[in-house]
Amino acid sequence: MTRKQKRLAGLGFIAAVLSGAVGLVLVGLRDEIVFFYTPTEIVEESKAAQGQRFRIGGLVKEDSLQKQGTTVSFIITDTNSDLTVNYTGILPDLFKEGQGVVAEGTMNSALVFVADTVLAKHDENYMPKEVTDSLKEQGYWQEDNKGS
C-alpha cells in the first residue's frame, strides 16, 4: 500500500467506527428510550399503546395505597386524572401518599399501569422535575415555597 492508501484506510476505519457509533445511537433512540407521560395524557389522550414502556409521574393520591404482602397498588394523580398502578417489590423509603413519584412500566389490558420501577427522591422537599412541570401545567403548583 502506498502512503496515501494507508492514510485513506486509516481514515476509512475511523469513519467506520464513528458511523457504527452513530448507528447504535439511532437504534437506541428508536428502541430504547422511554417517554414520560402524565396521568392525563394516558387516561384522557391515551398516548401510550398497550405494552409500550413509559414513565408516569405525578403525586401519590392520598389514601390510595393498598398493600398485599409484597404487592402494592396505588393511584398516581396529576389532580386532573388518576391512574392505578400495580407494583411488586419494595417501595422507596421516601414513597409517601401526597408526594411526588415516578413509575416505569407498561399498561395492562385492564388499564392498570404495571410498574417494575418506582422512584421517589432523595430529598423530601424534592419533587421530580417532570412532576413539577405537569403540575404547573395543571395550575396546581405554587412557585417557591422555600424556607417554609
Binding site: K61, E62, D63, S64, I75, D82, T84
Partner: protein
C-alpha cells in the same frame, strides 16, 4: 474592635504578598529552549538506564536516541523562541502591576464584604449559648437545655414532667405525648398524668378521642371519683360515638358537679343540648354503624364528615348521606380493590332501603373479589339477607 484590626491586618498581608514580589530583583529570563534542553538531557539519561536494565533492545535504543535528537532540533527551530517574552524586563510595568494589585485587592475585598458579610456578627456555638446564664434566656434555650439533660439521662422522670406541658403549650403535641408516656413509665401513673396524656393524644388526633385516650380517661376517673376533667373528655367521646343516651346523663352530671367558673361549662352545655337533640330522632344510621376499619381507603368518611353529619338537620343529613354514598360509589368505580369501601356501601344501601342498588353492588364486589373466600361468603350472606 479586634475584628476590624484583624480585617485590616488580613487585607494588608494579602496586598503585601502580592505587591512585594513585584519589586523583587528582576532577572533576565532564560529562553524556553534552555528548559527544553534540560528535559532532553533527562530523557537521554532514562534511555541509557533502560538499556542497562535491558528493557529495550539495542535497536530501540538507537532509534530513541535519534528520535530525541530530532525532537530537540525541531524545538530549536521552532518559531516562538525569540519572541517578545525574552526582552529584558521593564521596571515600569512592574510598578503599574503592583499599583493595580494594591488598589484592586482592598477594593474588591472590602466592597464585597460590606455587601455580603454580616459585619462583626459574633459566633454562636450551641454549647456556649446553652451554658450561658439562664436568666434572661428564652424559653427555647431552657427547653433545649432540659432536652440535652434528658438525652444524657432518659430515665429522669422529673425532667420529662417539666418538658411535657411546655411541649403541649408550644404545639409540639407528639413530643408532649412521648414525654408524658415517659413520665408515666418512670414515675408511675397518676390520674393527672393519665388525663394529660389522654388530652395530648386527643389533641394530636384533631380532637378525636380514640380507644387509648378513652381508656386513660376512664382509669383517671376511676382512680379519682371527684375529678372532672377526665369525665369531660369521656362525655365528649360519647358524643363522638353518637351514644347520645349515655351522653346526656354524663353531661348533666358534669355540669352539676362543676364549679360555676369552670372553663368547660360553656362547651358542656352546648354538647348536652346537641345530645338531647339527637335522642329525639334516632333513625337507623348508616354512618355510625359502619366499622371504622381501613380509614385509609378512599371514599371512607373522615372524622370531619362524621362530625359534619352529626350537626346537620334530619333532611340535610339524609342528603349528606346520599351524597357520601354517591361519592363512595364513584371512588369504587375507579379503585375497585377497596374492600372496606364495598362493605360500607352495601351496608349503606341496605340501611337506606335502596335494595336493588345494594344487590348490584354485591354483584360487582363479587366479581372483584372472586378469590377472597371469606369475603365471598360474607357477600353471599348479605345477598341472602336482602333477597329474603
Amino acid at each position: 474592635m479586634i475584628f476590624w484590626i484583624l480585617i485590616g491586618l488580613l487585607t494588608l498581608v494579602t496586598v503585601s504578598v502580592v505587591v512585594i514580589p513585584v519589586f523583587g530583583n528582576a532577572k533576565k529570563l532564560d529562553s524556553p529552549l534552555e528548559y527544553d534542553k534540560e528535559i532532553y538531557k533527562a530523557r537521554l539519561k532514562e534511555i541509557e538506564q533502560e538499556r542497562t536494565l535491558g528493557t529495550i533492545s539495542e535497536r530501540e535504543y538507537e532509534n530513541s536516541l535519534a528520535e530525541e535528537g530530532k525532537r530537540l532540533l525541531m524545538l530549536a527551530s521552532s518559531d516562538s523562541n525569540n519572541d517578545v517574552a525574552y526582552k529584558p524586563t521593564s521596571q515600569k510595568s512592574a510598578v503599574l502591576g503592583a499599583l493595580f494589585a494594591a488598589i484592586l485587592v482592598p477594593l474588591i475585598a472590602l466592597t464585597a464584604y460590606f455587601n455580603l458579610g454580616a459585619i462583626n456578627t459574633p459566633d454562636q456555638p450551641l454549647q456556649a449559648r446553652l451554658d450561658a446564664d439562664p436568666r434572661g434566656q428564652s424559653l427555647l434555650v431552657l427547653l433545649q437545655r432540659a432536652e440535652n439533660q434528658l438525652a444524657k439521662n432518659p430515665d429522669d422522670g422529673r425532667g420529662w414532667l417539666i418538658v411535657a406541658p411546655v411541649y403541649m403549650r408550644m404545639g409540639r403535641v407528639q413530643e408532649s405525648i412521648t414525654a408524658y408516656r415517659n413520665v408515666i413509665r418512670i414515675l408511675g401513673p397518676t390520674p393527672e398524668l393519665q388525663t394529660s396524656l389522654g388530652e395530648a393524644i386527643a389533641v394530636a388526633a384533631n380532637g378525636e378521642i380514640d380507644k387509648e385516650a378513652l381508656e386513660l380517661f376512664k382509669k383517671a376517673a376511676d382512680a379519682d371519683p371527684a375529678s372532672l376533667k377526665p369525665r369531660f373528655f369521656m362525655a365528649i367521646a360519647l358524643n363522638q360515638s353518637e351514644e347520645f343516651e349515655k351522653a346526656v346523663p354524663a353531661w348533666q352530671n358534669l355540669i352539676k358537679n362543676s364549679p360555676t367558673d369552670s372553663p368547660w361549662l360553656d362547651v358542656a352545655r352546648q354538647q348536652l343540648k346537641l345530645a338531647q337533640g339527637k335522642i329525639g330522632n334516632n333513625i337507623p344510621d348508616a354512618v355510625s354503624n359502619a366499622p371504622v376499619a381501613d380509614s385509609n381507603a378512599p371514599g371512607n368518611p373522615t372524622a370531619e364528615d362524621i362530625e359534619a353529619a352529626g350537626q346537620l338537620s334530619t333532611d340535610d343529613r339524609q342528603s349528606f348521606i346520599n351524597s357520601m354514598v354517591e361519592r363512595l360509589s364513584a371512588e369504587l368505580e375507579e379503585n375497585p380493590q377497596n374492600k372496606a369501601g364495598w362493605q360500607r356501601i352495601i351496608r349503606s344501601y341496605t340501611v337506606l332501603g335502596r335494595k336493588d342498588e345494594a344487590l348490584a353492588a354485591i354483584e360487582k364486589a363479587m366479581q372483584v373479589f372472586e378469590d377472597d373466600k371469606n369475603f365471598m361468603t360474607e357477600l353471599e350472606q348479605n345477598k341472602q339477607a336482602l333477597v329474603n
